[in-house]
């Protein structure tokens, strides 16, 4: 068989050619490995510069930095609790809004949409990913925040005013800016990641599986919920992880609308801050070394949060694969 492929070689030396192939293979493998190791080198470089930069702050505050709420640049007492809380809350709310919506859009595009409209609508949703985050920030500050301030927020405050537990979540004057607005914009930004990846994954589901379910008399919902989603679980979770990564690290869009208060309030409508927003807002004006170092330590903490989230996601994926059987 190899003889046919090598027909065009005049004086054919098999051993030499195989050796040449082997060397070429080894070289290519080395090339790809070096590229992969370069990625690791960059990561380690970033990590080291983070640790070096946060060292003064780590020395000054130690571990309590993580659960201290104070953030006072004048007395130089800093604590990360406000930004950590804001990062987690905005990301969770953004995911809560974006995941069902993204999957809903993917389902719409694969099952319900007439095929002529599939391409344009699919591209249109993906365009949301192409809009630069600074545009989201400016649009959020000038268009969305006033809109929410006059419509959704007063409605939320009124509706939940008498509900015992939830009223605490939705109280306070409608500022327009705040954690909720930031989470809302974030959800719009990460929507396309979830819908694009989920749609790609849905399209790899073998039609036979779906048709078998339809043949049994399942409704579209049942096919989706009991056949397609379980089949494409890992892919969907992968898309969600990509989206969550974007949500955790998003800076520009959030700085414009989050209100920058290093406080933890019970209300979701209150101003807050996230780690990325705090760094972006305050780094260039931070005059003292300790202030700058505290901001860099926030960055280090974010790396750690991302690490934990990703590790949890991996665990979850492994458990899903084990329980459902590999696809």
């Amino acid at each position: 068989m190899a003889g046919i492929a090598l027909e065009n070689y005049g004086t054919y030396d098999r051993a030499n050619t195989v050796r040449r192939f082997g060397r070429g293979d080894a070289r290519f493998r080395l090339l790809t490995l070096s590229a992969a190791l370069l990625v690791v080198a960059i990561f380690l470089g970033v990590l080291i510069s983070l640790v070096l930069g946060s060292w003064p702050s780590i020395k000054a505050f130690g571990l309590p930095f993580i659960w201290t709420e104070t953030w006072n640049p004048v007395t130089e007492k800093f604590g990360a609790l406000g930004p950590i809380y804001g990062t987690l809350v905005t990301s969770i709310i953004a995911m809560v809004i974006a995941v069902p919506t993204g999957i809903g859009i993917a389902i719409f595009l694969t099952e319900i949409c007439p095929s002529a409209l599939k391409r344009p609508i699919g591209t249109a949703i993906e365009l949301l990913a192409g809009i630069p985050s600074i545009v989201y920030g400016i649009w959020g500050m000038f268009m969305l925040a006033p809109l929410l301030q006059t419509t959704l927020q007063p409605w939320l405050i009124e509706t939940f005013a008498d509900v015992p537990v939830l009223s605490g979540l939705f109280e306070g004057p409608p500022y327009g800016l705040g954690l909720f607005t930031a989470a809302f914009i974030l959800s719009i930004m990460i929507l396309p990641f979830i819908s694009a990846v989920t749609r790609d994954v849905f399209e790899t589901v073998p039609p036979m599986l779906k048709e078998a379910a339809y043949g049994l008399g399942c409704t579209r919902w049942e096919v989706m919920w009991r056949v397609v989603l379980p089949y494409s679980r890992t892919g969907v979770v992968g898309g969600c992880m990509l989206a969550l990564g974007r949500a955790l690290g998003e800076t520009m869009a959030i700085t414009f609308v989050v209100g920058n208060a290093h406080r933890i309030a019970s209300s979701l409508l209150a101003p807050g801050t996230t780690i990325s927003a705090a760094i972006a807002n305050e780094f260039t004006e931070a005059e003292s070394e300790l202030y700058r170092s505290s901001l860099i330590e926030l960055g280090l903490i974010l790396c750690f949060i991302t690490f934990v989230v990703l590790a949890l996601a991996q665990l979850m994926l492994r458990r899903l694969e084990a329980s459902g059987g590999k696809r």
Binding site: G53, P100, I131
Partner: protein
């Protein structure tokens, strides 16, 4: 047939249908809202001067030429340097590394790098490049490259894993060495997805401001020197949007319009080229 059960199933199905359509409308509505704002605000700020004049002080009829040129140069450099590295690394993870411990670590670190706030990347490049060589377009391009690489690695690996093993086996059966199979069969099969990855990376870096503040620095004048500070469109937009002057505001919206529609056009063109090839 149990008609109560059937009615309930029908209802659930209907609700699900409504939810699905509403989700799509939700996404489309916001897209329309943002694009509408961009169009109305951005178009009014567009004029020939935007493309022929460099940035000037308020009231001096400036444009965005130096910023557009700077962004283009740095983006092209970042993508030109970052894409090969990203594709090669993704290839290692999908074709060679697969399930080894090393590959697992690399994937993990790559994902963390993917979610790192871009300002941290900027600070890293500041320490490594700027402290030693000063602010420059090259430093700016380097920080953008660090943002491009993880995106390309992730999407390349995902796309390569979706290529059916039978294709690879067919190539190998013909006697081709593994590296040749990867290059001419697997890469070609995953090309569309890899292009999507590069487009995503381009979209990501075209709006980045924070890392450029500490690396490219910015420049109010026209500059073609790669070792000197250079302007960038997102940074100019950021400064102008936060200023008090109307003409600067208009330029900021015009700049936002330019970036958005450039990225969108790039995506659409790339998709069209891909589909034509198929």
């Amino acid at each position: 047939m149990n008609s109560v059960l059937y009615a309930r199933r029908r209802l659930t199905d209907r609700l699900f249908l409504i939810f699905s359509i509403s989700a799509a409308l939700f996404g489309l509505a916001w897209l329309a809202a943002i694009l509408y704002t961009l169009l109305t605000q951005g178009l009014s700020g567009l004029s020939l001067t935007v493309f022929t004049e460099s940035t000037k002080s308020p009231g001096s009829h400036g444009g965005l030429l130096n910023a557009i040129a700077g962004s283009l140069v740095m983006s092209i450099l970042a993508v030109a340097a970052g894409t090969p590295i990203g594709i090669l690394a993704g290839t290692y993870l999908a074709e060679y590394g697969r399930t080894t411990r090393l590959a697992g670590f690399i994937r993990f670190f790559n994902d963390i790098l993917l979610s790192a706030p871009s300002i941290i990347v900027g600070l890293f490049i500041y320490e490594v490049v700027v402290r030693n060589f000063g602010f420059s377009a090259i430093a700016g391009a380097a920080s953008l490259m660090v943002i491009v690489i993880p995106v390309v690695v992730r999407t390349t690996e995902n796309m390569l894993l979706l290529v059916p093993g039978s294709l690879r086996e067919a190539g190998a059966a013909l006697g081709a060495p593994i590296s040749h199979v990867i290059r001419s069969v697997t890469w070609r099969a995953a090309r569309a997805g890899i292009v999507t990855g590069v487009l995503l990376a381009v979209a990501r870096i075209s709006g980045e401001t924070a890392p450029l503040i500490f690396t490219a620095f910015g420049n109010q004048f026209w500059s073609t020197d790669l070792t000197a500070p250079i302007a960038s469109l997102p940074q100019v937009i950021f400064n102008y949007a936060n200023s008090a002057y109307d003409d600067w505001h208009r330029l900021a919206w015009a700049g936002a319009f330019i970036i958005t529609f450039a990225v969108l056009t790039l995506s659409i063109v790339a998709r069209l080229l891909e589909s034509k090839r198929n």
